[in-house]
Amino acid sequence: MMPMDWIFGLIGGLLIGLAGAVYLLGNGRVMGASGIIGGLVDGTAHSAWAERLAFLAALIAVPAILQFGLQVVTGAASAPFLLIAAGLCVGVGTRLANGCTSGHGVCGISRFSPRGIVATLIYIGAGVVTVVILRAMVGAI
């Protein structure tokens, strides 16, 4: 018997994949969170800003509604400087690499894109190293 967490992970994952399939077959676009957000921030979204905003609004609204019926589990709070450093790294990194977990990970790997596969291996590797160092340094995350 698989732990419930894994089963919910699988079901949630299927929904995320379905979201990507709707965005691809419906709008003809690759669903990457960093690209959708980043395009609005740096002005490269051009005429597609309305659909991007709709995507992001629903991405915020649905978990906001769901949490009334289904308790949301969040992580522990972290030190502000850590949050800022991490946010900057994620923002700069995903835009330089042109993708994040959704774009390179979900959409890239599923089309056997070498860029997506390489990017995913690198960011998971860098994440593993970071967590190992963080645990060794503070032991409290």
Binding site: L10, F55, A58, N98
Partner: protein, 143 residues
């Protein structure tokens, strides 16, 4: 129609993040904690997401998107410095807090000030990134 489909996709994405438990940054960091108390949940989320997406990619040839027009062109198959440096930076930030761009935005609805601080820094980074990219030329290896 474009806006409606985008909202449906965003909603499904949000529901998926919520159900999968990926709103919990300790589960994400648990996945990255390969040499500690490893939590494989994220691998199930990734695996689950790749299945419908792989089917969707197989449906693309010979079709047009529902709203008409064309599919976004595939990116240059180039493993360049930007991809590598960017992914390393992303991995570091992801490991530090356990948030990537999708959940960072969704966390506005549940993450309190923690998520908001991260999100603002992330948006600043995204705004700044194009100013850095000239320093990382796109020489790389074609694959």
């Amino acid at each position: 129609m474009r806006v409606l489909l985008a909202a449906i996709a965003g909603g499904l994405f949000g529901a998926g993040l919520h159900l999968s438990g990926m709103t919990d940054t300790t589960k994400v960091q648990g996945f990255l904690d390969l040499f500690g108390a490893w939590d494989p949940t994220l691998a199930f989320v990734m695996g689950g997401a790749i299945v419908p997406m792989a089917i969707a990619w197989r449906m693309v040839p010979g079709r047009t998107p529902l709203v008409g027009g064309g599919f976004a062109p595939a990116p240059d198959p180039l493993l360049d410095r930007r991809l590598i440096v960017g992914s390393i930076l992303f991995g570091i930030g992801w490991g530090l807090i356990g948030l990537c761009p999708g959940p960072a935005l969704a966390s506005l609805s549940y993450g309190g000030w923690t998520g908001a601080v991260f999100l603002i820094a992330m948006l600043a980074g995204m705004w700044f990134a194009p100013r850095l990219s000239p320093y990382l030329d796109r020489t790389g290896q074609a694959v």
